[in-house]
Amino acid sequence: MNSITTQQKRLRSRHRSDRRFKYYGMIAIAFALAFLTFFFVDIISKALPAFQQAYVQVSVNYSPSIVKNYNTAIDKNDRKLVSKTFLRTLPRKLKAHPELLNTTQIEWALANHRVDQYLKGHDGHGLKRKDQKYVDELFKEKKIELNFNKGFFTNGDSKLAESAGILAAAIGSIFLLLITMAVAVPIGVMTAIYLEEFAPDNRFTQAIEVNINNLAAIPSILYGLLGLAIFINVMGVPRSSALAGGLTLSLMTLPIIIIATRAALRSIPDNIRDAAYALGASNLQTVWHHVLPLAFPGILTGSIIGLAQAMGETAPLLIVGMMAYIPEAPTGILDATTVLPAQIYTWSSESMRAFEERTAAGIVVLLTVLLLLNAFAVWLRNRSQKTW
């Protein structure tokens, strides 16, 4: 009798600790979810206003004098509301459209950041009392409107918050990604194939293996210093150029790709290789016709995750000079360029208050791209997964 109750007690206590263990796990997940939600709500709520931008309707007087002084094109009261970017481009516009000379046009102009921030009800807009009233009036007459901020996706960086956009940085990121891919993927995959399929297992290859695993864990800024020393100082690649950044990032991505590829190759059962050899296939044929196609999803997933990490990297790019004011999108790999995370960092340190929401919007864009890349990796894996 007695022994049964002890047993039951013990069983109950074991079940209790079972449940506790489960709850610990749930608490951990709840914490992680809470942080994630907080982060997303905070960033997205800050970013949303940036996707709208104030525009103001003004009459532009295309007199010949605006070529010398563009300020004269617009009435003095309206000039305080309009972005400098709009005014500065007027002489060029006149040159491109000579028929506008000596006419007055009603146009929707980009409003400056003070008007924009005032309309969005943000503190620290810095718009003068007198101008506030004027803006309120125009808003009632529907001569000032908040519209979708197209410029954010079609412009490059700008010192004026209202015309700052993400396009140049996005193109820069694509350039870097392509270079990293073109350099790191072939070298990484070939290294992994050699180590996994051909290399003898001796001291030397073991040393290489340990080194590669260590390289994957090195702080990324060291790759920046390496890139500066090798590519810029020795090889003479221009500072801040897409090539310098891309090569530096490929150094950083190489170990990740090698490790992922080796894991993928190792997961292919040996009987597939044996079957190929038994039919008289050479090493090349075995690897190229049988092992690689089966390992391909794994290799691709590893590469994409490596590239996604490279895309979010800033530290090494700081060293090779990409954290700079570069408003124009690159047209070649030797052109100076900036990238998405660098652009976010530059905006976060601007003193103009309107950059705050653009920083958040930049983060949203970067996160979206990264999520898409990772989703693509998952999709590829699921699509071509095979079981033996």
Binding site: F296, M323, P327, G332, E350, S351, R353
Partner: protein
Amino acid sequence: MKKQIMAITALAAVSFFAHTAAQAAETIQIVGSSTVYPFSSYTAQALGETTKFKTPVVESTGSGGGMKLFCAGAGLDTPDFTNASRRMKVSEFEKCQANGVKDITEMVVGYDGIAIAQSKETASINLSRKDLMLAVAAEVPSKDGTHLVANPYHYWNEINASLPHREIRVYGPPTSSGTRDAFEDMILKHLTKKMDVYTKLYKADEKKNKAYKKYHKIRQDGVFVPSGENDNLIVQKLARDTAALGIFGYSYLEENSDSIAPANIDGVIPTPATIANHSYPLSRSLYFYIKKSHIGKVPGMMEYANLFMSEKMVGDGGECTDIGLIALPKAEREHYRAALKNLTNMTADDFKAKH
């Protein structure tokens, strides 16, 4: 599937490299101080938007980092301009000369003030430079003034009985920042180089006690909080921590005047007027340097320099003054504009004259 992807990748890579092989259009390259960076990049944008030239690339590397890149050589891959929030040092000038950067023209674009600010809700505070020095130095004179002790002060009224009983906490820039250099120069070195209690240690042993010649070590016991290069962070901290003071460039004070207010330093608050006439003690000149050998090889250099020095940008009420630059007096502006026209060379003698 694999072959297709590989083929597409290879094709993309090849066309990509081929397209760009011979393409290295010369763009103006500017490096240097993070304090001058907002004005320099603003001008760069204006040049890009109003002329046919490509927008210059402006990188903020810090004054010292900029000099190092600028003086590295005369090749076209080196920067064409460098910005600085202090004057070029003799050692840097000599390095330039040694590396073949012989002809350099020096420009001053305006002034910058360093603001000591606090939350707007806090009662205003009057500090002398000495109060500040005693609050942030790692070692300060003992009560009787005979020797140095580790900084014992934790409340302002311990330093000066007329100050409020308020905890000392200062958010400031890290050591890599030009603003930190300037703060150390104008607050710490400025006072300690004339105080016997520091200098007598230096005189006693010039090698070992070199640090005491112009003592500028800032305390590390948590009272002075280095807060990163991002001045916005300091501004945000001040809004929450109402007892604290923050140190940053004047433009951030101007842009955030709804939440923070300046402290009086030696009885003067920073305004464009007090910074320009130097009655506010924490003001400094902002420089940029032109590599003359690149003019004519890199298109747009003179246009950029002329635009940066123009009344429209740095004159009274110019566009750069809207974003926080303090204009030079008119005579000075004329002086530097004339120097720009003649592209006056810097010489070793310039460093002898007091600037």
